[in-house]
Every structure is written in structure tokens, then in C-alpha cells.
Symmetry: C2
Subunit: 193 residues, 2 copies
DNA sequence: TTGTTTTGCTAACAACTGTTAGTATATGGC
DNA sequence: GCCATATACTAACAGTTGTTAGCAAAACAA
């Protein structure tokens, strides 16, 4: 028990920023608005973060770390490409479900990062894509997966995965596991009977 | 011949806005910056549009109309769900390819629309989703398509389609038709051998 | 020609932006 | 107790925001 008590101001700032950045976009959220929602004055935010960009950076970098960790853990549990893909999809959705606000900020608002964080972020993003694409490439070599354009397929799959937060916020409810299985089936087996 | 000559200032404003809104996000683009890129002064923009929001509204509504038209035309050419789906995917990608900047603005920046345009937009979006979902539902009834959660599948397919503009801007090049076929195959037949 | 509409300009507005300086109060270690 | 750190505050900054007023020149209609 006791999972939400004892939240520091800094944590509250981060959480509120995640919510507001997602709802209105980074550029459209002012420091005064953020502060008000937290229950403090704008300048007090600077006791916890160096700048507005610093808040965004922490959100994005934390999420990146989570996605990487979950990916690596998932990939290690399986050998065959199809099963690895399924595991990665499940892991990815797990992270999104556990961080509904920040996951969306991570995917949509990272463009507002300033250098050098922006460069670092792009590099990580590319690395993640490449790792993912590697599963497909390996699967094709072992003939477990059809010969497809792996770059296009990777883009498509990522986007489909990121659709999960739209779905999670919609009226229709499904468990994380059901969503992951449905999506994995769709991507692996297709729609056709 | 002669397809780009004789561009009115208003057209130039719209085109420039599409480019900037896509690159930096609606909220991060100022009227002065937009005007400078067009080659006029900021207040002169108001000779062509009533407000900043008015520009965004025109971009979004024009794209919505294009997607609807292309969708309806595509759906009319086929009977079977699988083939309809393929036709719709091809049509959708065609619209994205022909409007690479505005399509992305349409998908990402519509949140900044003000009422009543925002409400109208959401309604249209829902209508599009519902129409699309209708194809899947019909296909399932006729047993041409597997029993899936059509809402989740619709979300996933839309997202995958919107990945096309990322792909189009990446290094790897594919024709519109190849992209459409690759994606349709992926979604209909799946990745598994 | 005339009058009218369109399209551009400069100057300026009130509101808002992220941020800093300087200060007071509370908190925790010794 | 005392000192240091952390955290909050108010006041204010320089710059930017979307937008309006008022005016001039060009374009067009008669």
C-alpha cells in the first residue's frame, strides 16, 4: 500500500508538466500556467529545474531509458524473430501504458529539445529503430519473416504501437495484454482470413 | 506546362505556413517569422487571413476535404473488403504524398484549432474513422476479414498510414504505389512466412 | 478621368514569454 | 542552540506574442 503519498514538489512539477505538455503541446504551455497547476509561483519552478527545456529533457530522457530497458529485456527472452517481435510489442505497450502522459510527450514534443539534448535524442531514436529493424532483418534471413522493406515496416509498426495511447484514452477498454496480443497478431498474421 | 507560375500572395502565405507549422509546430511559429519567409511584413498577413488560427483552419479543412474525397472515390471502385482496404490505403497515401507538409500539419497540429472549428474537425475525424471501421466490420461479417477489435485495428492502420510521411522524408525512396502495396500487404497478410 | 478595392507599409497596443535578482521562511545537520 | 541548504515568495527584466489603427500606393472598374 501507500503508492501515491509523499510526492516531492519536483515530482509534482514533472508530473504536471507531462500532463500539460501532452494536452496542449510544449510550446503552448507557459511556466506560469504550469506553476499554477502545481500550486506554486512561476519563479519557484527554477528551484527544481534550470529551465523549461530542462523539464522536457528530463521527461524525454527518462522515457527513452525506459523504452531501451524494456526492449532489451524483451528481446532476451526469445530466440525466433516472430516471438521476439511479439515480446517487444508487449514490452513497448507496457511502457506506454505505465506512462500514458510522458510517452506521448516523448513521441510528439521531443522536437522542442534544445541542443545538445536534441542531437543525443535523435541518436537514441535512430539506435532504437535500428535495433528493431535488426529483428526484422534477422527474421528475413532465417526465413521466419517475409521479405519486406524493413525500414518502411519499422516505421509502420512504431506508428501502430504509438496508436495505443489514443486507444487507451478512447472509450473502448482492453487490457494491456489483450492490446499487445491483438496488435502482434495483426502485424504478424494480417487481417485477411 | 506552367504549373507553378502565378502564385498569389495568399497562396504563398498558406504554403509557407504549411512548411513552418510542420517543421516547428503551430505554437512555435510567429506571425513575424511567417511574414518574413513570405517576404512581407506581419500586419500584411491580415489582408489575406483574419487570424493565425484562420490559416491553420484553412489548411486543416482543405486536407480533410481531400481525404474524404479520395476515400469515397476509392471505396466505390471495389466490392470486397480486402480490396476496398487496399484501395483506401492507396488513396490515403496518394493524398499524403501530394501534400507532404499540410498532411502532417493536419494530423499533428489540429489541436490548436479554436472553437467552433475544433468541434467540427473532431466530428469529421470521427466520421472518417467510423467509415473506415465500417469496411472492417463489413469484411468480418462476410468472413473476408478476421475477427479483430476493429477500433484498435483502425487506430493502428491510421497510424501506420501516417508513418508514410516520415518514410517519404527519410533517405530510402519508394514510389507511392510501392509504398501503398507494401503497407497493404503488411496489414492484410502480415509479416509471418 | 473618377472612385473603390486590394494590398502593402509603419507604429504601436496590451498581454504574455522565460527568466533573474533579491529576500524571507522553513528544514535538516551539527 | 546555530549554520547551511532548500524552497518559497515578490518585483521586475527584456523580448516576443497576435493583432489593430491609420495611411499610402497600386490595381481595377466605371
Amino acid at each position: 500500500m501507500a503508492t501515491k503519498v509523499e510526492q516531492t514538489t519536483k515530482e509534482k512539477v514533472k508530473q504536471t508538466a507531462q500532463k500539460l505538455f501532452r494536452e496542449k503541446g510544449y510550446a503552448a504551455v507557459g511556466m506560469r500556467e504550469l506553476a499554477k497547476e502545481v500550486g506554486i509561483q512561476a519563479p519557484s519552478l527554477y528551484n527544481h529545474y534550470k529551465s523549461k527545456d530542462d523539464i522536457l529533457r528530463e521527461i524525454c530522457m527518462d522515457m527513452a531509458a525506459q523504452f531501451f530497458t524494456a526492449f532489451d529485456a524483451a528481446i532476451a527472452t526469445e530466440q525466433k524473430a516472430g516471438r521476439q517481435l511479439r515480446a517487444v510489442i508487449r514490452a513497448h505497450i507496457g511502457v506506454v501504458a505505465a506512462n500514458m502522459d510522458s510517452a506521448e510527450v516523448f513521441f510528439q514534443e521531443w522536437i522542442f529539445l534544445e541542443q545538445p539534448a536534441l542531437g543525443k535524442f535523435k541518436k537514441m531514436r535512430l539506435e532504437y529503430e535500428t535495433k528493431f529493424r535488426g529483428i526484422l532483418d534477422k527474421g528475413i534471413r532465417k526465413k521466419e519473416i517475409k521479405k519486406v522493406n524493413t525500414k518502411l515496416a519499422t516505421f509502420a509498426i512504431f506508428s501502430a504501437l504509438n496508436a495505443t495511447y489514443d486507444f487507451m484514452r478512447s472509450t473502448e477498454k482492453l487490457s494491456q495484454e489483450q492490446m499487445a496480443d491483438e496488435l502482434a497478431d495483426l502485424l504478424l498474421k494480417g487481417l485477411k482470413t
